[in-house]
Subunit: 844 residues, 2 copies
């Protein structure tokens, strides 16, 4: 293993340089060398050697410098495995000393020589000798700087280049192993033992005769991904001076506003453009190039991947694939599925300024501005005037549905990611921040008071950033959604790979249209309860709940039947024959009750009942743990008339849609099952309604009946249950809650701390907990398939956009995932990743 | 298979009579025959034959009657497999007709002959010919009765004995197969196809010359089980007349109040006493004997097991075993474990009258009377005056603890079996009824209004029956607890059999003493949170919760430390070295907050904070689903200082108890674990405290750290968890809640209907759900033992008294169960049953 013995390597086309041993920058430089780009002579020091240097080993720096010939000046730069992990700053002009200075005075003049020497002494003093930065700041004369160094250290500035380099390497090696640096890079995902390589490179002077200078250039816009030359160049500068300084900055391309590199140094500029093209096609990536021009000659010091927004990522990857530079598969793999979210919503422009007045939980992505309103009525009035508004509430109630439809964004003081506001907003694709507990709402005064004492009034302009969980003052700059041709191309490539299907959770015609826009394969979850919250329906629903006798309940439900039927007809029409899975009524009845005095009074009036009776009834309905209470199939078993009405509405809508040319085979799903008998009872009653509807209308129709697996028990008993069900849909949100004994809404207060302390490796509501919930899922799938091999199995929850979760479900044999319409593209891409990784794994 | 062809058998010592073919009465009669007791000649008709008769088959009744010789009179009685399943009433004097009447007039006189004939005609008319009972009531002259029969049927009363018997048999066979009878017996546990046998017996006349009559006798008191001759005898009567009539009733034994059978008919009486003894020793049971004396001669018609209270059951079984009539094992098996509950508490005397004013959920067994009080303060005042009181509240709060200690019983309007009131009351052994939603409480007026409009005032005497869930007017007759020598003997026999150990859940010294009184093997669950609700501690606890900084929290907790330590010292002393398992703090913090305005005001004063701040903080603490919120180990991880204080208190108490001569190795249990890392974190912190206490005191002590398995995930990950735990305790209550997604408190509203409709075969909170929760338990036990074979495994929940659940846990390899102190004997007996049944199964 002689190779490993070498402590440094000159980077040549054939040197044994690897990312794992020398870091990304070293490897990238070798690639540039192989492309015959004008890279100054460079030496790479391996992770191992740097680690030994930190531990006290002294590298033979004289031998290293000898690679560069007589009296070189060199720079040292870090080269870690991943450029994002950071590292110590570059140090330039190593090798400067009194002799070299004297020579340079002769060749470059006093000023240039002084600047080069001073720069090195300053950097060395601050970053290597760790002297007080204040002593070495600014543009003091060289002699003063050298004196300051001697005063502070009681030694003259070191003159031996080998010693200088040794000190620089040791300082950088130790800085990397310091605690702060380690924690910082671990926060970015680096392993505890991540190594640092170092790059020693011959200096190309950006200072001197003719056109000299340094700069960076890139060939796409980092925000949009569109082709555009951007960057900075500065005459008579070194390193990254161009990014900081003002004087001497040139435009890159010809520009009416002033001189440009293109004009000043046409040859070098053309070479640069050419280098960009070479990088793009050969490194198969949009690169930012760091360069120096020395007396009109181009030197390429480094090239890094262009930092970019998500939308730019998509455009760049798709364009590279279209041009055949990379494969479609690689384009897919280059996009983090979750990044697509940014493209589907307006975004606060990251380049703008933010004046935050509240921070909460990012509950529904996207951003929108509008005037503050504190009630649903005001939101509706605002919408009627065509004025954008932002609805702010303590927490939203079912009555607020219309207000939310009317608003452009929602902000609530209470609630977590599954609160009413959050769920509805995600369904509507409405930017939403919940649990902004740092503000105080005085709705009655029409006033909102911020934590720092500012008062906002109804009508003030604000912006909600649902991606970051922030509420901002005023109307800020936005980036529009980027659901463009590149986005569509990417998704169609994903779809071509096969794998699980993707359906959307969609409750309303709007949802359904969004689902189709984002290419959903159908509706995987249509929650019917939202249909009972709207306007008049809520009153009828309350009558149903208040009815003492079954006959009264049926009478009230009869009023809801035509409305439900119409809901379904509309959904079936929009979905044009794609499958639609309708979940029967699920929530506890008390969700339909008002919570405050005025709501109770209004309800008492509407139902013509004494307030005391209404209050008593509401109290009787209240539950200690609503999540674990009288809801789902439990309601269906005890008050079968509700499910009967819904089944009738579904069947009649199926017939009606059929008459209008849309053949539908609806899927009816039973929620919160924990025992097989529940399924049998509901199945009997639904089947009976089907027979009745057929007998009454003479029409033929088909349907499927299935079960939502949300309790651990349903997963364990999936065998029994599957024998009565055409499909099983694992509701992974509820299943996670029950498996952990953890309410998602209540966990918000401590989940952050829990994940940070590593108690849970991840938030199990974001990433499927493979060890616990995942095992239940596997058990359920296996038992269900054993009992009935054709049973269709899906998962339905917010895990649909998570790549590991998706890969797990795909391996488990799940047929499709269902998620909110805005997550359909994310899930689609995550599935493509899973397919590609699996194929890759199989190939390897 | 000739034997099965016979349609009837005379019951002789050798006849092929079985319970399965002819019923319990037939078999019992054969046993009496074998004991040479004077049983009149009897014929048994099998289930099969009776079933055929119901279907239209005609038995050769003449041949049957021929067994009895010339012109007999006979009776027919039902004989089902289990006497509790009921059956048609006996019919006497079959064979009476005009000829027989004429003969009897000659031998017995007109009156006797008329009575016998009339009785038969009346019974036949009503129960066989199904004529209007009003027409045949009372003591009409015989001729009128015969005329009435002819008027109603247009036929003369049937004269042929064979036809009479045929009609009787057919009528009884059909009555058995009617829907009402079937539903009634199914409600008592009979299978749908339960058969009926019929017994045809020669009549012994209780009417006639010399001393004739009929009666029943038993030799123990059915309420207490103590030896005592009770029963009824009536001269000149037949069948069970003695139980109904007044005239002619004699005392059985010599009595100063009047004539007795013992005096009137000494020989027969002695024979009867002898028969009782024979039955007791040979049938190995206390029997009630039905007898007839015919002209001074004793005839034993039947014998049945004496109906008895639970306390009588225990005494009878134990006494029989002590006398060697039955084995100890059989004595154990004869007692239904749950029946022991009755012996441990005062009971409303079943012989008394009940005036119920409210009905709720039976939350804690036993009964107590006292004056109504509507506040804890009033309860304490009442206790100070030494007056028994019954505390009535809307629902109890932590603040009510002292009031509950002071009260003799508790009644709440809201809440379920795991509500605060119910849990505390069971711990205190206090009779308690919760969720009595049919009453209205107007605490401010000091008035309680019942559903039927009665008004009860503070100070009115009432009785709470926690066994039935009833609240009764006034002070009613009680039976005292029967924790006597028989009770103790039974339990020590149970313990001798081995099997799982039984520990008690005990939070207070009182609980611990009760646990010891009932023979617990230790404390399996000491809930520490109750220790923070008492008086001053609650205020300190609230200070802890309101502290913003960790240092303030620690300061507040420092005040609680000596109190906690003293709690544990007392427990350790009472338990005298038996193991004590202490669960670290579990409930959500909002449980320590007041819920009404006045409580909030008082708290604000106590903490010297503005009410608005208190309200805001309480709101911030409130949770949507407290069961699934920030509690248990989640609190322990986020505020480690709470567990640290508790660990220190435990260790210091261990040292102190050791110094007082009680060597203890405390067990510390972590609640609501869902991930291994939670265990590691708490273990690290508890171990560190142990080291600190050791360093500070120099004392040596040992302890065990374990985990409460309450979430499905903890069961699935039991392997990981067991590698860091000395013991695992499955909290089956919470595990059931989470596996079903069902809050026990909220399920109360529909569990009854659910079980009745067979959706769940049993209430899973009473009987462990073997298919779901049980599977998780098995998975957990198996994985834990694989990871660490010495891990101690227990279950802790209300399933500890259920025989099937116990048997399941024992088979699963559980080491001990822990239950409330008052359930310890029940669990002990259930375990004995499981051991015996298993041995029996293995032997068979």
């Amino acid at each position: 293993m002689l190779r490993e013995m070498a402590e440094f390597h000159e980077i040549t086309q054939t040197a044994p340089i690897t990312v794992a041993e020398h870091g990304g920058r070293a490897k990238c430089l070798q690639r540039l060398v192989r492309l015959d780009l004008p890279v100054p002579q460079t030496v790479a020091i391996s992770f191992d050697t740097v680690h030994q240097i930190a531990a006290g080993h002294r590298l033979d720096t004289d031998a290293l410098l000898a690679v560069f010939g007589e009296a070189p000046l060199v720079s040292v730069r870090p080269s870690s495995e991943d450029p994002d992990w950071g590292g110590p700053g570059a140090i330039l002009n190593i090798g400067m000393n009194d002799d070299r200075h004297a020579e340079l005075v002769k060749t470059q003049g006093q000023d240039v020589a002084d600047r080069l020497y001073r720069r090195f002494v300053q950097t060395f003093a601050i970053h290597v000798a760790r002297l007080d930065p204040d002593m070495f700041d600014g543009q003091k004369p060289l002699a003063e700087v050298l004196d300051a160094y001697e005063d502070e250290t009681d030694e003259a500035f070191p003159q031996d280049p080998g010693y200088q380099l040794h000190m620089v390497l040791r300082s950088m090696a130790r800085a990397w192993e310091g605690t702060t640096a380690r924690l910082l890079r671990q926060a970015k995902g680096a392993p505890a033992d991540a190594g640092l390589g170092l790059i020693v490179q011959r200096m190309a002077f950006g200072i001197g005769a003719e056109e000299s200078g340094s700069g960076v250039i890139q060939f796409v816009d980092p925000t949009t991904g569109l082709p555009q030359i951007t960057g900075r160049y500065m005459s008579q500068s070194q390193g990254r001076d161009a990014l900081a300084g003002d004087g001497g900055v040139l435009y890159l391309t010809r520009d009416p506003r002033g001189p440009s590199l293109e004009e000043q140094c046409d040859t070098a500029f053309k070479e640069l453009i050419e280098a960009g093209k070479v990088c793009r096609t050969k490194l198969r990536e949009e690169m930012q190039i760091e360069f120096t021009i020395e007396a009109g000659h181009l030197h390429i010091l480094d090239a890094v991947r262009v930092q970019r927004s998500s939308r730019a990522s998509v455009r760049i990857a798709v364009e590279l694939a279209r041009e055949g530079v990379i494969s479609k598969e690689e384009a897919l793999l280059r996009i983090e599925p979750r990044a697509l979210s940014e493209l589907m919503h307006s975004q606060v422009d990251p380049r703008g300024k933010r004046d935050r007045f509240a921070r909460g939980i990012a509950a529904s992505p996207g951003a929108a501005s509008g005037k503050l309103v504190f009630s649903s009525a005001a939101a509706q009035a605002s919408a009627a005037r065509d004025e954008a508004c932002v609805l702010v509430r303590q927490e939203t109630q079912p009555e607020d549905i219309r207000g939310m439809h009317a608003a452009n964004a929602v902000l609530t003081v209470r609630g977590g990611v599954t609160s009413h506001a959050a769920v509805i907003a995600r369904g509507l694709g409405l930017p939403c921040v919940v649990g902004a507990s740092d503000i105080t709402l005085r709705s009655r005064d029409g006033v909102l008071v911020t934590a720092d004492g500012r008062t906002l009034n109804e009508g003030d302009l604000v912006t909600i950033d649902g991606g970051t969980g922030e509420a901002l003052m005023g109307e800020v700059e936005m980036l529009p959604p980027a659901v463009d041709d590149c986005f569509s191309a990417l998704l169609s490539w994903a779809e071509e790979l096969g794998g699980m299907k993707v359906r959307a959770n969609a409750d309303t015609p709007d949802d359904a249209r969004t689902a189709r826009r984002f290419g959903a394969d159908g509706i995987g979850l249509c929650r019917t309860e939202h249909m009972f919250f709207e306007g008049d329906r809520l009153t009828v629903m309350r009558e149903t709940i208040f009815a003492d006798e079954e006959t009264d309940r049926r009478a009230a439900l009869d009023q809801l039947l035509p409305m439900q039927r119409e809901d379904f007809v509309r959904l079936f029409q929009i979905m044009e024959g794609l499958p639609v899975c309708i979940r029967l009524f699920d929530p506890p009845l008390h969700e339909f009750m008002p919570r405050d005095r005025s709501g109770i009074r209004a309800m008492a009036e509407a139902l013509d009942l004494p307030i005391s009776q209404v209050t008593r009834r509401i109290e009787a309905l209240s539950e200690f743990n609503p999540m674990l209470g009288m809801r789902g199939v439990r309601l269906g078993v005890l008050f079968p008339e509700i499910y009967e009405m819904q089944a009738r509405a579904i069947f009649e809508a199926t017939i009606e849609a059929g008459e209008r040319g849309r053949l539908v085979e609806p899927e009816i799903m039973i929620p919160l099952v924990s025992a097989m008998r529940e399924v049998e009872l509901v199945k009997n009653s639904v089947d009976a309604i089907a027979v009745a509807v057929h007998n009454q209308t003479g029409a033929e129709f088909k349907y499927k009946l299935g079960v939502m697996v949300e309790t651990p028990r349903a997963a364990l008993r999936a065998g029994d249950i599957a024998s009565h069900a055409a499909f099983l849909s694992f509701g992974t949100n509820d299943l996670t809650q029950m498996t952990y004994g953890l309410s998602r809404d209540d966990a918000g207060r401590f989940m952050g701390a829990y994940v940070q302390q590593g108690v849970y490796p991840e938030d199990p509501f974001h990433t499927l907990d493979l060890d616990g919930v995942g095992e239940l899922l596997l058990i359920g799938v296996q038992r269900a398939r054993e009992a009935q091999k054709d049973v269709v199995i899906s998962i339905c929850g917010e895990h649909g956009g998570n790549p590991e979760s998706i890969a797990f479900c795909q391996d488990a044999g799940v047929d499709y995932v269902s998620c909110s319409p805005f997550r359909v593209p994310i899930a689609r891409l995550a599935i493509a990743h899973a397919v590609l990784r699996k194929a890759h794994g199989a190939a390897a």
